[in-house]
Assembly symmetry: C2
Homo-oligomer: 213 residues x 2
DNA sequence: CGGTACGTTGTGGTC
DNA sequence: GACCACAGCGTACCG
């Protein structure tokens, strides 16, 4: 018989098997797993390796407990845990909800580039600098408007790859009807050889900017 | 004084604060957190909400335990946990390493399209169907070669968005030197309005294919 | 090892 | 709610 704390956070180490149906379908063989239920009604089922849980679910709206089985359900998804043996069941009280405060994010690089615009793009003649400028093909990290030229800047916090270049190309395309001359840059600490070549083929530019200058 | 099981999997619920340095930098305020150490030398630190851990690390090569502090390190990263109080420390034995077997993946859709090629692309005249065809601009999900035409197919398992269209455009570009006529399709269960319009502007096509037909 | 793309991505933000 | 993009993405795979 399974008894779970009501509406609280708890962890359960148990011998069980798991099935998931919803966005995809999965099965997990009988074995020992760590089941983590948090008070935001999220569920994770962890195996003995890897950071990512074997199964998981958010916004659970229904929990059905029967002898040997727990079913978690949202509107469109369901996880069924068939429990053979419960090894540890612990209620976790006063579990902190603080989040990590991150530094060295993309946003930080954007701020840095805007603050130092003149040194990164000297004599650009830009009279207006816009962040997250919306286009029909997505938002541009930094758009610099000069009378005759637009500067389109896509910023990445780490190695730039092919997909980042295509992202920039798409923004350039979105602006083509608006202005005659566009200078487009991808900015970040590093770029892959392939991405570099692709960039050059399209007359786009790379500007190396690191967190610590 | 902290005593941890050597080289095993364990979980610790503790009052602590955490700092991370490496790819980025983060701090986590003093509070109760669940620390999960697995035998593949991975570490997760969970707060009382969200599926994703507050901090994490893989491939740990060094653990330094001092009174009130545990330091986990890889070559380039470090997590420092300053422990105020240990609430639960449990060693987890025989923790299963089975992985979930997934269905309804992109690969499954690819297989389905190849198997039913003639019904999806009638009279295509394709004499060769290749999976994960490598180009200088990335691998193509399905490439169908007819004498005069290449069929380029990009498959998605869920809603198709702008970035998926740019991905397809990039593959088409990579093949341009090889063949005169290219027909490019993005295939999946649904597509966003924006992506649809962008697709049409570039004379690409969308083909709706679902898991259950 | 770098490079590329998938993922039940999760999560946040904006429209 | 749709849709877009970041993330210490993690993870797998292929070169």
């Amino acid at each position: 018989m399974i008894e779970l704390p009501e509406l609280k956070s708890w962890i359960l180490y148990a011998t069980c098997e798991v099935t998931y149906t919803g966005r995809a379908t999965s099965t997990l063989e009988l074995g020992n797993y760590l089941i983590v239920y948090k008070k935001d009604h999220s569920l994770s089922i962890h195996g003995g390796t890897l950071i990512i849980p074997r199964n998981y679910m958010s916004n659970i709206i229904k929990i059905i407990i029967t002898p040997e089985t727990i079913i978690f359900a949202t509107k469109r998804e369901q996880i069924t845990i068939k429990i053979t043996m419960m090894i540890h069941l612990i209620e976790l009280n006063d579990w902190s909800e603080y989040k990590t405060t991150m530094r060295r994010t993309e946003k930080e690089l954007v701020t840095k580039i805007i603050a130092g615009w003149e040194s990164y793009f000297p004599q650009s003649g830009v009279v207006e600098l816009l962040q997250e400028y919306p286009t029909t093909l997505g938002p541009i990290d930094i758009l610099g408007k000069a009378p005759e030229v637009y500067y389109v800047i896509e910023v990445k916090r780490k190695l730039i790859s092919l997909k980042d270049v295509t992202q920039l190309l798409r923004y350039v395309e979105a602006l083509l009807p608006e202005v005659k001359t566009i200078r487009a840059y991808i900015v970040g600490p590093a770029i892959s050889a392939n991405a570099r070549k692709y960039l050059n083929n399209h007359s786009l530019d790379y500007l190396k900017v690191d967190f610590d200058d």
